[in-house]
């Protein structure tokens, strides 16, 4: 550590530049990861945050809710077997507008549920959804950014039906649109033609059935339009960033340590153990990486505070720490090439003036 601190102190500029590079890469990784997580939430949180484990869909519906159509007969089979652990769900994408402003429309998704089932959302404010034949509905917090408040009226653009916001639930979204929860009676008013429903959500893990397509929650979320493509390309970017940084850092460390090989030879000739030098190189890289990672945590946090609500961004603490840890590991792995050189330096190079 003695050598490490002296070296860092002496070559401030060089090490700051290296630290800056690590910081930029970690920051970019965190930012893209946050965006990917944010988009994932924005795409599937209304499904993800339910306590459902598996979903029963019509056979051949390819895990797509909107392609599945179940009837009352189907429902009776599951209702009797699972009681409170089963719930009907219909999902329908639509457009709403404020009653007094027809030019400002918002795309939304209706979740049509039994208000007494486990699919009924938890509220952040206002009043719960009931099964009464009224116009009081619960909507996602996401609608707040379009200017909706408790008591605001919502007009369904297609049917002309109006609802009043009774309560808000947290940022629930489906396929990047805010979710509006309707009970069965309200659903009838919006979609009078619809007789069946899309799926049965089960709190239990049901493996398979010959008459239905039974899928788990993850499969259902992956089949939400756009979800897999978005997540796939973002995580591909993150993956490449890890690989790129491994190589970039390895080359930088290598060059920096190559310049110092003669010094390492001298140090060995003077009686410094190779293990001391290995620790020196590793702690130098480790300190740089840790500082850079902490700075990028801070910057990411500040940016997250300033992010507009319309730009989905989400980084949980485990993901943040995981990314930081992974990066520290990558930094240390990329030092291996340099370490091999350091271990191989022959102290004889110090003597004889042949350097």
């Amino acid at each position: 550590m003695y050598l490490t601190f002296k070296d860092l102190r002496h070559d401030k500029l060089k090490f700051s530049a290296l630290g800056l590079i690590i910081f930029l890469i970690v920051f970019l990784v965190l930012f893209i990861t946050g965006l990917a997580n944010g988009l994932a939430n924005d795409s599937g949180s209304a499904i993800k945050e339910t306590s459902a484990q598996s979903f029963v869909l019509q056979k051949g519906s390819q895990a797509r809710l909107n392609r599945s159509e179940l009837s009352a007969t189907d429902w009776n089979k599951f209702k009797n077997k699972y009681h409170g652990s089963a719930a009907k769900l219909s999902v329908n994408q639509a457009t709403i507008q404020k009653t007094n402003n027809a030019s400002k429309k918002t795309d939304i998704t209706y979740f049509m549920i039994d208000a007494n089932s486990f699919l009924s959302p938890k509220l952040t404010s206002g009043q719960k959804l009931t099964n009464k034949d009224n116009n009081q509905v619960v909507v996602s917090d996401k609608l707040k950014s379009s200017g909706y408040k408790i008591g605001s009226s919502i007009k369904d653009s297609a049917s002309g039906q109006t609802f009043k916001i009774a309560g808000f639930t947290d940022n629930k979204a489906y396929s990047h649109t805010p979710v509006i929860y309707l009970n069965q009676k309200q659903a009838q008013k919006v979609l009078p033609m619809k007789t069946g429903f899309n799926a049965i959500a089960l709190k239990k893990n049901l493996n398979s059935s010959s008459k239905y397509q039974v899928i788990n929650k993850k499969t259902l979320i992956n089949a939400i339009p756009g979800y897999s493509a978005e997540q796939g390309s973002l995580y591909l970017m993150v993956g490449f960033l890890y690989i790129i940084s491994l190589f970039v850092l390895a080359v930088f460390f290598y060059i920096i340590n190559l310049q110092k090989l003669n010094d390492f030879g001298t140090l060995k000739a003077l009686g410094t153990d190779t293990s001391y030098l290995v620790k020196h190189v590793l702690s130098e890289m480790g300190i740089l990486a840790i500082v850079a990672i902490l700075v990028s945590f801070l910057i990411t946090y500040l940016i997250e505070l300033k992010m507009p609500a319309s730009m989905p961004f989400s980084l949980s603490l485990p993901v943040l720490l995981g990314t930081g840890g992974l990066f520290l590991l990558i930094t240390l792995i990329s030092a291996i090439l340099s370490l091999i050189k350091v271990v191989k330096v022959d102290p004889i190079t110090a003597i004889g003036g042949n350097n």
């Binding site: 002496h10 003077l270 009686g271 153990d273």
Partner: protein, 222 residues
């Protein structure tokens, strides 16, 4: 006898294509406490090779090297490192100071990695006329100053043996003579043994014994 270093029948071969290049052929050598010895000889004769064998940097093909009565010719790399740290002081041709350590830290570092009781590094540097340079980095020092720091670094651990490979090669003759004088005085005052490889005939009046190496053979000429 108070021989600090004794070499007996040292042979060193280097592989040279199909053949072997026998650089040192049956060399014996000794240096006593309080003695300053010089090794001279033509370029390529094997002076540096001999010095690296004395300094536990290189293992001879055969023969024994005893330092304070201990055979150091067959030690492991790790044991060699420890011998170099605690029993030998090196002065290299280009002084080879560590660029990111201040002058006083050059010595502090050596003290830090060894288990020997620390003496006052700054006092030693002051004695060598480097008081105003304690907090400078090596790059601002003159060649002579650097070489004096290297001497201080070689002595800081109070080794019994000092090895110097052409310590004057990068200095003008006046500076070079001063540097050798400092080595001579310290060796005599502190009762150490020192071996110096040199090309420079003009400083040979400062040493106590002179050895000549030629064709792989070493003989004492004075």
């Amino acid at each position: 006898m108070t021989n600090i270093l004794e070499l007996n029948h040292i042979i060193k071969n280097y592989p040279d294509g199909q053949q072997v290049n026998e650089v040192l052929k049956d060399i014996s050598f000794h240096v006593q406490r309080g003695e300053f010895a010089a090794i001279v000889g033509p370029s390529g004769a094997g002076k540096s090779t001999l010095l690296t064998i004395m300094g536990a940097l290189l293992t001879p093909s055969s023969g024994t090297v005893s330092l304070n009565g201990q055979d150091i010719s067959k030690l492991s790399k790790k044991q060699q490192t420890s011998v170099r740290l605690n029993n030998i002081g090196f002065i290299f041709q280009n002084s080879d100071l560590i660029p990111y350590l201040k002058i006083s830290e050059q010595l502090q570092f050596v003290q830090k990695i060894s288990q020997k009781p620390a003496i006052d590094a700054n006092e030693l540097l002051t004695k060598l006329g480097l008081k105003h340079r304690l907090n400078s980095y090596p790059n601002v020092l003159s060649g002579g100053e650097k070489q004096r720091v290297a001497i201080a670094r070689a002595f800081i651990n109070q080794p019994d043996l000092i090895l110097a490979d052409e310590p004057t090669a990068s200095l003008d003759s006046k500076r070079g003579r001063e540097v050798v004088q400092i080595i001579q005085e310290t060796v005599h005052q502190e009762n150490k043994a020192a071996v110096m490889v040199t090309h420079d005939e003009r400083i040979l009046d400062l040493v106590d014994s002179i050895w000549q190496i030629e064709d792989g053979q070493l003989k004492k000429v004075r």
